[in-house]
Symmetry: C2
Subunit: 464 residues, 2 copies
Amino acid sequence: MRSLVAAPDVSPDARPLAVILAAGEGSRLAGHQDGAPKPVLSLLGLSLAERTITSCIAAGIERFLVVLGHRVDQVRAHYQEIAARRQCQVEFVTADDWKLGNGASLLAAADTVAGETFLLTMSDHLITPSLIKKILRSRPREDGICLAVDRDKTGVFDVDDVTKVVLSDNRVVRIGKSLEQWDAADTGVFFCTRALFEALRQARTQERHSLTDGVSELATAGQVKAVDVSGESWIDVDTPKAFREARRRLLTNLTKGGEDGYVSVRLNRPISTRISARLVSTEITPNQITVISFLISLLGAGLLSVGQYAVVLVGGLLVQLASVIDGCDGEIARLKHMSSARGAWLDTVLDRYADMAVALAVTYAFATAHAGPLPWIVGFLAAFGFIMASYVTKEFVIRTRRPYPNDIFNRLKRRDLRILLICLGAVVGRPFEALALAGLLSHVCVVGVLIKGWKRGGIRQRTA
Amino acid sequence: MRSLVAAPDVSPDARPLAVILAAGEGSRLAGHQDGAPKPVLSLLGLSLAERTITSCIAAGIERFLVVLGHRVDQVRAHYQEIAARRQCQVEFVTADDWKLGNGASLLAAADTVAGETFLLTMSDHLITPSLIKKILRSRPREDGICLAVDRDKTGVFDVDDVTKVVLSDNRVVRIGKSLEQWDAADTGVFFCTRALFEALRQARTQERHSLTDGVSELATAGQVKAVDVSGESWIDVDTPKAFREARRRLLTNLTKGGEDGYVSVRLNRPISTRISARLVSTEITPNQITVISFLISLLGAGLLSVGQYAVVLVGGLLVQLASVIDGCDGEIARLKHMSSARGAWLDTVLDRYADMAVALAVTYAFATAHAGPLPWIVGFLAAFGFIMASYVTKEFVIRTRRPYPNDIFNRLKRRDLRILLICLGAVVGRPFEALALAGLLSHVCVVGVLIKGWKRGGIRQRTA
């Protein structure tokens, strides 16, 4: 289920209708997940259909026309659920002769598409919002279409199966799966005018019924503009192998963003993404995970306060476990496209309370065994360093209106490292020393951030 | 030195030239400050001339034309200093017959004003940036001017001396100082076209040389549009009495903004503004005051840690003194229009360190006299509450992209109250109990802010 055609003369800000082809049988994935139709197949907690819709929504599209064919009722019901959950408008058209090819399916929508232009994609393609935004920014000719193409041939998944294009001057001149010489891969995302329907009708007169056949008509006439989206992640999920690759990519993307600390990248994320991959199919919500992680931290802190090696060891392992699980809330929220300001707010504040509990517990245990105020003063300062480490970057964001860069200070003062240090301290029977070290590290980083903020903050006059 | 005329057909975003009349003698303020010319007179650390310029800059104006007359060299040199310090462009024109009247002074600028429109104000008027913005948003007729008028007659300072206007349908129809019946006061701020020069020439043929005479010509022809700026603070600083009033208003404005806590409003600000009013004429910088306040806090904390009543008492008073002085840095920065992101950054972070020092010191003193871990745990939690109280509102700002409202939680968790509590605790010999109370209050407020943030943060989907 892959093919092409796109449309012209649209301002970059237009938020057109998206037409989604969901009529095919998806035979190569048959048997997967009890023989559910392909759009309904669940990939890390969300169906392929919902992933396409959420990507479109994130790119600014709010209206959808879904072309049904195979198992009409089941697929329509699924899209109706998505429409209710994601608060978008979804209409349907049924392609009676969908078995002829995806071009025939799309032609069924010709009378229903009201506007001049529309985005076209497939229910089984995993695409990013930024890929969609890129093609929406392009301006197709009035009598043509735009096709998003990927020039990075080595990065294309399953090269044998992909539809290929030959380019000339940013125009697609040939298209097909079996081209020997080719310049880029067809990503299956189009920005179309109604010219595509004309081309599909033309191809139909020659008994050619695929979308590629229609696009080929337009390409011959020089009416297909190629939009380069190289570097964007996209995949046609039409085989079990592609399904696994899509899953792998989604999980890999969770650790991207350059926001993580050293320990997160090497230790916590590899574990938490595995946990998230399992939890994402359950009903558990990200906020519930936030609270569970917090409770495990408190339990760990309780054990750390006891002072006996075996108990402290378990406490140390528990706070590290909580630190790992602390990554799952955000991961599941991202996987299910349900990130919320509220969840992030809860998570950040509870993290601070968890830090305090751990610092207090470790200090208490050490002070019980060592008389005098020194343990308390050290613990006090360490805990203060932990919060200040978070505080100064918040302050930086507010003052400079930009995120604090993920520099060495930011990485060394992160919670992932500090918790691991304390866990390792518990393992070697020196949790307090580890706490002190983590505190010292935090203060050094606070000073580093402070200096950076000072250098950034030029003298700006305020208006009265 | 007061008078009028304004100009048309300007887009609201235009950033016109400002013409500043600084030619007059200011005889009624003669003898003030060793007989310095009026524009050079210092009012709370900045000259009247610099206050006009900084208000204009804050309203978006960057080019100035200053009309000189009395003491040309001294006034010009002063404006050149301002231009260098405030990084704006200032040009000059000398009015040879300035003694005839301020209309004659302005006429000297007729050949130098290049554009179609210009803002006109006086070097001795204290005006707010928002007043200037309001008149710049108005659109005068091509052959007319705009005049900012104040309809709040009871709020006008020195009614006898002020220039008055009679309005009809938002047009100024009469203008003069001795009108019996009048509708509004002339604020001395105009948005002009070159029509004003014509009107001044017309008046000159009748030996009438004041700006008011020129404006009167235009008013008769219905060419003066009144722009209502009621509610804005403005004052013509031409007598010792007006000078004192201007000073009073500047100091009063320091406490405005609704950002202060209860203790700040009632106790700290009344004292700190008096200190600032003295310090503002010295060379001391806001950042130096920030550091001095911090050092006093540390000294106070040191004394609080000793435990003997007399010493603790002095320590408590010192931290309260530091809290009062902590207001002066911002006040002086605002009075001198030298607020900086850098200064605010330093101030916020040092406040947290000062809080920590005080909490640690009070806890240490109490724990020395009372065995067991309880004092330390309480002190730990109190200190944690202090930082979290600041932390959660920062987080709120970042999440919601708006300031946290100055609600009861915000007021009760502020530093001013917390420090005063500890000071009062020191006075009655119970600093630790006061610390615990302040900590409890902080935690209650943190929970309040947390709930408010949770309610605000609706589920928003993030783009990938």
